[in-house]
């Protein structure tokens, strides 16, 4: 029993790597079993330490540091790395908001629609003698733009561009334009004629169409003149 206790203490001593002290030293001199156990334990821990030392002190490959230095050159340590996701996130949110605003359908009230309705202004008459200085229009026709003036100011440049590009262009031949100018001048001179011309016609209700039967008078058959003469002549010849 005493030997078993000593063996346990010997293992502790061997594990700690300390030297034998106290009662253990004389006991080890007397007990061959404990001495053998202690030697085995010391050998075991020595082998463990040796194996650990071999594993922990392996020769460092000479290529390690040059490889690391080469990779350090390629690495750029960003100082404000935390700022990058913040910037990208903010930009994404702003972009999404802008897209939402542009894609949102605009619901206009009837008042707004009436207010924003375009006002058609008569086109200034072009003198018949005016010629296209650049001569870009096709022969015999000239382009005359009818300006459409919006009563409201354009909200942004996109709308302005859209309205400017959507002005209708009416191609009017020069002779028709000249005739129209003459007609307008006539209307200006004779107001009564213009009023009569522009006055609404009274509505005429469509009457039922009735078809009267044809009236055919009695046919009177009259003998043709000279028929008797020819008949008598013929009888005279037979005789």
């Amino acid at each position: 029993m005493l030997c078993e206790h000593d063996k346990h203490a010997l293992i502790e001593v061997a594990a700690s790597g300390a030297t034998l002290q106290g009662e253990l030293r004389p006991h080890l001199g007397e007990c061959a079993s404990c001495r053998s156990t202690f030697d085995e334990e010391r050998s075991l821990f020595s082998a463990i330490d040796s194996g650990l030392h071999a594993s922990a002190n392996a020769e460092v490959p000479s290529s390690l540091l040059p490889r690391v230095r080469a990779q350090l050159d390629e690495v750029v340590a960003p100082r404000f790395r935390w700022l990058q996701p913040l910037v990208f996130g903010s930009a994404s949110v702003a972009l999404a908001f802008a897209v939402f605003l542009m894609a949102r359908p605009h619901h206009a009230t009837p008042e707004e629609i009436a207010k924003h309705a375009p006002e058609v202004v008569p086109a200034p008459t072009v003198p018949a003698t005016s010629k296209n200085p650049e001569g870009t229009s096709p022969e015999g026709t000239q382009s005359a733009a009818i300006p459409v003036r919006h009563s409201h100011a354009a909200r942004n440049s996109t709308d302005r561009h859209f309205s400017a590009s959507s002005n209708p262009e009416v191609l009017v031949p020069p002779d028709e334009r000249e005739g129209l100018a003459r007609f307008v001048a006539t209307l200006n001179q004779r107001r009564d004629f213009a009023a009569a011309f522009l006055a609404q016609r009274p509505e005429k209700k469509d009457a039922l169409v009735t078809v009267d039967p044809l009236q055919i008078p009695d046919i009177e058959i009259k003998p043709l003149e000279g028929t008797e003469t020819e008949a008598s002549d013929g009888a005279g010849e037979k005789h």
């Binding site: 650990l52 030392h53 392996a58 690495v75």
Partner: protein, 180 residues
């Protein structure tokens, strides 16, 4: 301004690289027991340390910081290698093939070393790291305690417990193997 700060950081890191590079490698080698893998892990650990070097306020803790990075990376690689090996075994069921080792490793290996490596793997991480560092040349227990920011008494007790655990696992082999 920023370039100058980066140049300073680079210079300071390079000064530590000569001393701490081998340390990172040896920690990884102690876990992985393979030189090529340990070199890869050490390289990755050093690069990670460099990328985050400006965030390390107390530069005196660089060694312990690097040791922990290297130890963690080595453990991750060891676990993924084990998972891969298990997966391959399940699919192919090949005969047991020992891992490929270079001439140096073949020369250094013996039967006991294999048992020791397996016993080391089964140790808890905190014991394994302390045992590895204590087995390295050039570091006293006080330096290890400072390196991993653990009290000196804790380091001593961990070393003692770790060695006893290893001895318990290896005692059954002590009489049958040719100990070096």
């Amino acid at each position: 301004m920023r370039e100058a700060a980066q140049a300073d950081a680079r210079r300071e890191f390079e000064e530590r690289l000569a001393e701490c590079g081998p340390l990172a490698f040896r920690v990884a080698r102690g876990v992985l027991r393979n030189t090529a893998d340990a070199e890869d892990v050490a390289q990755e650990a050093l690069l990670r340390a460099y990328k985050s070097f400006d965030r390390l306020r107390d530069r005196n803790r660089f060694r312990g910081w690097l040791v922990r990075i290297s130890f963690r990376l080595a453990l991750d690689r060891l676990r993924s290698a084990k998972r891969r090996e298990q997966r391959d075994t399940l699919w192919a069921k090949p005969e047991h093939v020992p891992p490929v080792a270079n001439a140096e490793e073949i020369a250094a290996s013996n039967q006991f070393q294999g048992h020791l490596d397996r016993a080391l793997e089964e140790l808890p991480e905190k014991f394994r790291l302390v045992l590895l560092l204590s087995a390295m040349d050039g570091y006293t227990i006080e330096e290890i305690a400072s390196m991993i920011a653990v009290p000196l008494g804790t380091v001593k007790s961990r070393i003692f417990i770790a060695r006893k655990k290893l001895a318990e696992k290896l005692r059954c082999y002590a009489n049958t193997i040719n100990m070096r």
